[in-house]
């Protein structure tokens, strides 16, 4: 017995989205609390009802948030491992908690403030002039494996995903024009929304005039970096029926990935040939569709985790919207635009609206299925939300109205 249709998202809350550092004097904690309270109010619930936290990427410490909010009793507090790859999977974790009876009203939340740190910066200290004192590993001892990667000059997530992209181009003939189509399409979606941090259109000329960061990725292939928080409140399908909005049901949720995928990304790059140039989502997608009992043709709108444009392409392949290696021509034909075969990131995504590590995608999926999205896909009944590509787990969740 799966948890299909047994739980639902009943409330969404969010702070405004801020350019990097401009959320001060708010803090990550205060923004998380604002988003959670907002989501509870949206549902017609209160802090008195909240009893669970299902998070990812260490977004908050549930102990601290529960204490600040005055939650009467916490009955579930768990996180998916690793980073942003768990965003969609956190909804599945919440659903599992509710379906199993461990908790009744569970929140998933992401809060981000990049005033003092940058996720897109160096993964390994690049400075130090030969000293290891500035190395982030030195406090706990430098892991012996680091010496095998430290000379490569691969310092950022962008360079890591550039390696997958270059291979995809080599194998399948994917081009920078295909990447540009993703960036330009998403920008066109973002600029109709008052929440968007990007407000002007992006042209092909703008795209090709921008600076290359790490070949083949240029500035507009990268996510933005910014501040803000988004939360989603979930409960059982039974209880959801009596709340403020029509429930958005969890059709299915899956997380994980192939066993050799995890450290392949951003660290050792040892993934087997058959899925090196992929988003790592293929096995997750298969399980997700099986649990939900639907096929890619049934999905009306796809909110795909988009830290880099090529990873949208590879997810289109891994979630079966086109064949493996065919995503470039697929997007060139306009298939991911509004009115296309599968509209993608109708909110503008990380690339153009705001980067809250996957949770703006959850918010947009709910708005689409409630029928009140700004870039509404007419009659949308089923939405796909994904988390990652990143280190294992990556995740996907299917929602229906």
């Amino acid at each position: 017995m799966t948890m299909r249709d047994r739980t639902a998202i009943v409330g969404i809350g969010a702070t405004p989205y801020y350019k990097r550092g401009e959320s001060l004097p708010h803090t990550q904690l205060s923004m998380a609390c604002d988003a959670i309270v907002g989501a509870l109010e949206d549902a017609g619930l209160t802090v008195q009802d909240l009893d669970g936290f299902a998070i990812y990427s260490n977004s908050v410490d549930p102990a601290e948030v529960a204490s600040v909010l005055g939650v009467p009793e916490v009955r579930f507090a768990a996180s998916l491992t690793s980073g942003g790859g768990g965003s969609a999977g956190a909804l599945g974790l919440a659903a599992a908690a509710i379906h199993s009876g461990m908790a009744e009203v569970v929140v998933s939340v992401m809060t981000l403030q990049q005033a003092g740190r940058r996720l897109g910066g160096t993964q390994v200290s690049a400075g130090g002039g030969g000293s290891t004192s500035a190395n982030p590993y030195s406090a706990g001892g430098v892991p012996p494996s680091l010496a095998f990667t430290v000379g490569s000059g691969l310092l950022s997530p962008g360079s890591s995903f550039a390696l997958l992209t270059q291979r995809h181009m080599h194998l399948y003939g994917t081009t920078r024009e295909h990447l540009a189509e993703v960036a330009i399409t998403q920008r066109s979606h973002a600029i109709t929304r008052p929440t968007s941090l990007q407000t002007g259109p992006l042209t092909t000329k703008d795209y090709f005039a921008s600076r290359m960061i790490s070949d083949p990725l240029c500035l507009f292939d990268y996510t933005m970096e910014n501040d803000g928080a988004v939360a989603a409140v979930m409960t059982s399908a039974d209880r959801a029926k009596d709340l403020r909005h029509p429930p958005v049901y969890i059709l299915g949720s899956a997380h994980g990935g192939a066993g050799r995928w995890g450290p392949a990304i951003g660290k050792y790059f040892q993934a087997p040939d058959e899925y090196f140039a992929s988003s790592g989502h293929r096995p997750v997608a298969k399980r997700l569709y099986e649990m939900a009992g639907v096929t890619p043709d049934d999905v009306d709108v796809a909110l795909l985790y988009d830290h880099f444009t090529p990873m949208v392409l590879m997810q289109l392949e891994d979630y079966g919207f086109c064949g493996v290696g065919e995503s470039g021509p697929f997007v060139a034909d306009g298939n991911i635009r509004l009115g296309g075969k599968i509209p993608v990131n109708t909110h503008g995504g990380h690339l153009s609206e705001a980067y809250i590590i996957g949770f703006t995608h959850v918010r947009e999926a709910v708005e689409q299925l409630r029928g009140d999205a700004i870039n509404q896909v007419a009659g949308a009944e089923i939405a796909l939300v994904t988390g990652g590509p990143a280190g294992l787990p990556v995740s996907g969740t299917l929602l229906r109205r």
Binding site: G127, P143, G153, S214, Y268, F276
Partner: protein, 146 residues
């Protein structure tokens, strides 16, 4: 640290921080030899060295000499300096190398590809290892076109 020049990524460590499993690799590197730990049961070569063979679960490895040549599996040209001292180093090429004498995936190396025109690097290029001795204990493998 030696002077920074275009195309050569300045390595920010002077010690390999080796343990018993990885020390033979760095000992050989100081002698200019590329070696890899090979599973004594199924011959899978694993880099970076790991405590167990992911194919057959064996925990015993022997270091074997590798030819020191390989093929560019993928690469990126890093053009944007992520730290101030890298301004003089960019553009540089970071590559994944599949090594001759190994099964490929599981033994790929990540390395700076030097003495090349970044505009003429392609997947499939044949490359060979060079060891850049950054200290008395640490010789960093880089690759160049063969």
């Amino acid at each position: 640290m030696s002077e920074i020049k275009p195309g050569v990524y300045p390595v920010p460590m002077t010690d390999p921080h080796a343990d018993a499993t990885t020390q033979p690799f760095w000992d050989a590197a100081l002698e200019g030899r590329l070696v890899g730990p090979r599973c004594t049961n199924c011959t899978t070569v694993i880099l970076p060295p790991q405590p167990r063979c992911f194919v057959c679960q064996n925990t015993v490895f022997e270091y074997v000499d590798l030819p020191g040549v390989g093929t560019v599996y993928s690469f990126t040209v890093v053009r944007h300096p992520l730290a101030p001292h890298l301004r003089e180093a960019v553009p540089y090429v970071s590559a994944i190398i599949e090594l001759d004498g190994t099964q490929g995936a599981g033994a790929r190396m990540l390395a700076n590809l030097i003495d090349v025109d970044p505009e003429t690097v392609f997947i499939g290029d044949r490359v060979r290892v060079l060891f850049d001795k950054v200290s008395d204990t640490f010789a960093v493998p880089r690759f160049t076109k063969n």
